[in-house]
């Protein structure tokens, strides 16, 4: 006896909800990482204002992602090229997340460890997460969707006695540097490209599941915006606890990532918890974008097969990490991240070519 159609629709909607929450969490993490990495050196304590530009960009990408999934399937060379571009963009997001992870861990938890070792562990974890299929990563992101708000709440709690002097002067460096920071923050919307790919579990589901309608635009936009907003608030919290002089003096990106807890002596447990939550969010960003990149590559090159595509993505990530460590650290990832908006814009404009639904 066939399963109740209502049950199938609910389950498909639940899969989309998982996907949307994953995109929201990843976007929020990228807003925070890019804000501390690229916007803060430009706008100093005005970085959180610059990060507001990421919100409309993320909403636009989410909207286009929803339309892409609702559009009929196309298999031409242009469609394949666009999926390859999507895969490459998401892979770059994974590299950026990896770079953030290495920097943050190197500055906080493992100051005496080698960067190569930290990167090796992070890559291994990414690979393990990705090899279980994108479904596992997405479901984990869904179950931990309150982690970023928890991080924000904990940061707010520890800063409740702090003075807000770090926020002033409000516009920071003002004028052109602030505009440049705004332009940088547009790249933080790239993880929302996850929504251009359907949830992995629908691949194995039956025709009835694949024929179910995609939820409305508001379903996705609300979740992506919520995640991005948390990222903006985290930047705000970071700006509160670091004065502009300290930001100027700070040469290391990892130091800026470090939200300082205002705690008593030897109660570094709160500080460590904050750091571990940040690390977790970054690792999830890396794993989710890596899985999605693999999915996009498979869609572009179906003959490659899932395992080969995953292996290819991992090898590229490894190559990026090795080249970063031998050339100039991960600084190049920091400079490349703001440029992610360019491919995201191209993909958003051509979303109709990325359709996946059966005609």
């Amino acid at each position: 006896m066939p399963e109740d159609q209502r049950t199938i629709e609910n389950r498909v909607r639940a899969s989309w909800r998982v996907r949307a929450c994953t995109a929201g969490l990843c976007t929020g993490a990228q807003v925070f990482l890019l804000g501390t990495g690229a916007a803060m050196p430009l706008a100093l304590n005005g970085a959180w204002i610059a990060s507001l530009c990421a919100l409309p960009a993320a909403a636009l990408v989410a909207l286009c992602g929803r339309r892409a999934c609702a559009a009929p399937r196309r298999d031409g060379p242009l469609s394949r090229a666009l999926f390859l571009l999507l895969g490459a963009t998401l892979l770059l997001c994974a590299v950026f997340a990896l770079a953030s992870l290495v920097n943050l861990a190197g500055e906080t938890l493992l100051v005496q460890a080698r960067a190569a070792w930290i990167a090796a562990y992070a890559l291994a974890a990414c690979a393990l997460c990705a090899c279980f299929g994108g479904a596992g990563v997405g479901r984990l992101c869904f179950s931990l969707r309150w982690m970023m708000p928890l991080l924000l709440g904990l940061a707010a709690l520890t800063q409740r006695e702090a003075r807000i002097e770090g926020l002033f002067p409000l516009l920071g460096t003002g004028g052109r540097p602030l505009l440049a920071a705004c332009a940088c923050m547009l790249g933080a919307s790239a993880p929302a490209l996850l929504l251009m790919l359907p949830p992995p579990e629908l691949r194995e589901a039956g025709e009835a599941a694949r024929a179910c309608p995609v939820p409305g635009a508001g379903f996705f936009v609300v979740r992506v915006l919520a995640g991005a907003a948390v990222g903006v608030l985290l930047l705000f919290a970071a700006s509160v606890c670091i004065t502009y002089e300290a930001i100027e003096a700070s040469g290391e990106w990892g130091v800026r990532l470090h939200i300082v807890a205002d705690t008593q002596a030897h109660e570094g447990v709160t500080q460590t918890l904050l750091t571990v939550l940040e690390l977790t969010a970054t690792e999830l960003l890396a794993a989710a974008t890596l899985s999605a990149a693999e999915q996009a590559i498979v869609r572009a090159l179906p003959a490659a097969g899932r395992h080969r595509a995953g292996l290819a993505a991992l090898v590229l990530l490894l190559a990026a990490a090795l080249s970063a460590m031998t050339v100039n650290g991960f600084v190049w990832a920091l400079y490349a991240a703001p440029l992610l908006f360019a491919p995201a814009l191209v993909l958003a404009l051509c979303h109709g070519r990325l359709g996946d639904r059966a005609p």
Binding site: A113, A120, C131, R163, E165, F168, P169, L171, G172, E245
Partner: protein, 395 residues
């Protein structure tokens, strides 16, 4: 099978790389509880540390070798001296051109990795604090692996190394707990400034909106019960409290900094007034005349930049008579506290130390950093008049 083989290979690689993680056995660390920095000859610094010895037995042996130096040559890092403090601790010192080099010397000769994660206090001699070297010394210490940002910065007119040698746990067994309780207690009675932690001091020294304060302490050279007439008990500098005590060090008062340089001091009583004006007062009882009052602040202390450019402080205070004979009227008490506030503000201004944080109010009137820096607050602050308004209600 292939997947199992891949997992096994991955696990083996990660395990083999385990040595690159920077982990250390706990007994290979030298946990420093207290550190002292003194100026030495030829621009060098002498760093003295008190650390855990890892044994309850007294560590024996003392030797004092000094490398011979010729005039005109840069001093070489001198050999370290070993002292025997109370059981469980060891005192080591080294002299080098910088703090980091001195600590490296200690690491190399102990031989243990110096770990500052349990650091409770950093004592700097006054001679050094009155130079611009303080900030760089503190930043070097803070930049060290795992340095505890909550360690209290203390300035002393004595030899800082002798200061920490004298520092013992007169109550209890553990020096760390003793120091922790000591600083907690003095914070609660407002005889030491609230933001004297290492991270806070560095942040304030680098900041343009506020200035740093540190704890002022000295050796208890003599114990006397002589009272100074007309002065409050705590209205004096450390080393002169009118009581007997087995503690060889006294922590009382504030060292004022302007930028990175120490420019003045406040007594214990003045420190209490400073805490009140900063809105960080924790003391809940006050002795005025011959009466004791319980103090409560119904509203937050307000700091203002008046229209005429004056720096103002507004305090509302409720006093509940607890014991003794009430001799002063409500208005007299208010006037007395107001005078004390103005005296402290004038002292801070004379020392160019914006410890109260009026700069935090001034910066809000500027939209960009360029505008703010053009104002040059440090210079502007010295020329502004000060005033205080205290409203007291005796219940």
């Amino acid at each position: 099978m292939r997947r199992i083989a891949l997992f096994a290979a991955l696990l083996a690689c990660l395990t083999l790389l385990g040595g690159c993680g920077g982990g250390q056995e706990i007994e290979s660390c030298l946990f420093v509880l207290a550190m002292a920095v003194d100026p030495a000859e030829n621009g060098n610094l002498t760093v003295t540390v008190k650390a855990l010895s890892g044994t309850q037995e007294a560590v024996g042996g003392a030797s004092d070798e000094t490398a011979p130096q010729e005039d005109g040559e840069q001093a070489q890092p001198a050999a370290r001296t070993l002292e025997t403090p109370e059981p469980g601790y060891i005192v080591l010192s080294a002299t080098a051109p910088s703090c980091l080099r001195a600590l490296s010397l200690l690491s190399a000769t102990t031989p243990r990795t110096v770990n500052l994660s349990q650091l409770q206090e950093i004592v700097i001699s006054r001679t050094l604090a009155e130079t611009d070297a303080t900030l760089s010394i503190l930043k070097e210490i803070y930049a060290m692996y795992r340095a505890n940002g909550e360690a209290i910065v203390v300035v002393t007119p004595d030899d800082a190394g002798d200061f920490i040698r004298r520092q013992r746990a007169i109550l209890g067994v553990r020096l760390s707990k003793y120091l922790e309780v000591l600083f907690d207690h003095f914070s609660q009675i407002d005889t030491i400034p609230p933001d004297a932690q290492l991270a806070a001091v560095i942040s304030a020294m680098e900041s343009s909106v506020t200035d740093a304060t540190a704890v002022y302490a000295a050796g208890n050279a003599f114990d006397s019960t002589l009272l100074l007439s007309g002065a409050a008990d705590l209205d004096r500098l450390p080393g002169h409290l009118p009581r007997t005590s087995p503690a060889e060090n006294e922590y009382l008062g504030t060292a004022l900094f302007s930028g990175a340089r120490m420019t003045g001091t406040l007594t214990g009583e003045e420190t209490g007034i400073l805490c009140l004006m900063m809105g960080r007062a924790q003391r809940r009882s006050a002795f005025i005349g011959n009466a004791q009052y319980a103090v409560s602040l119904p509203t937050r202390v307000k700091r203002t930049l008046e229209a005429d450019g004056a720096l103002g402080v507004r305090v509302h205070m409720n006093l509940t008579h607890v014991a003794g004979v009430r001799e002063n009227a409500q208005a007299d008490i208010a006037a007395q506290i107001e005078r004390a506030c103005v005296d402290v503000l004038l002292k801070l201004r004379a020392a160019s130390c914006d410890a109260v944080g009026f700069g935090r109010l001034a910066i809000r009137r500027h939209l960009t950093i360029a505008d703010w820096e053009a104002q040059n607050w440090a210079q502007d602050y010295e020329g502004r008049p000060v005033r205080a308004a205290v409203h007291v209600k005796v219940l």
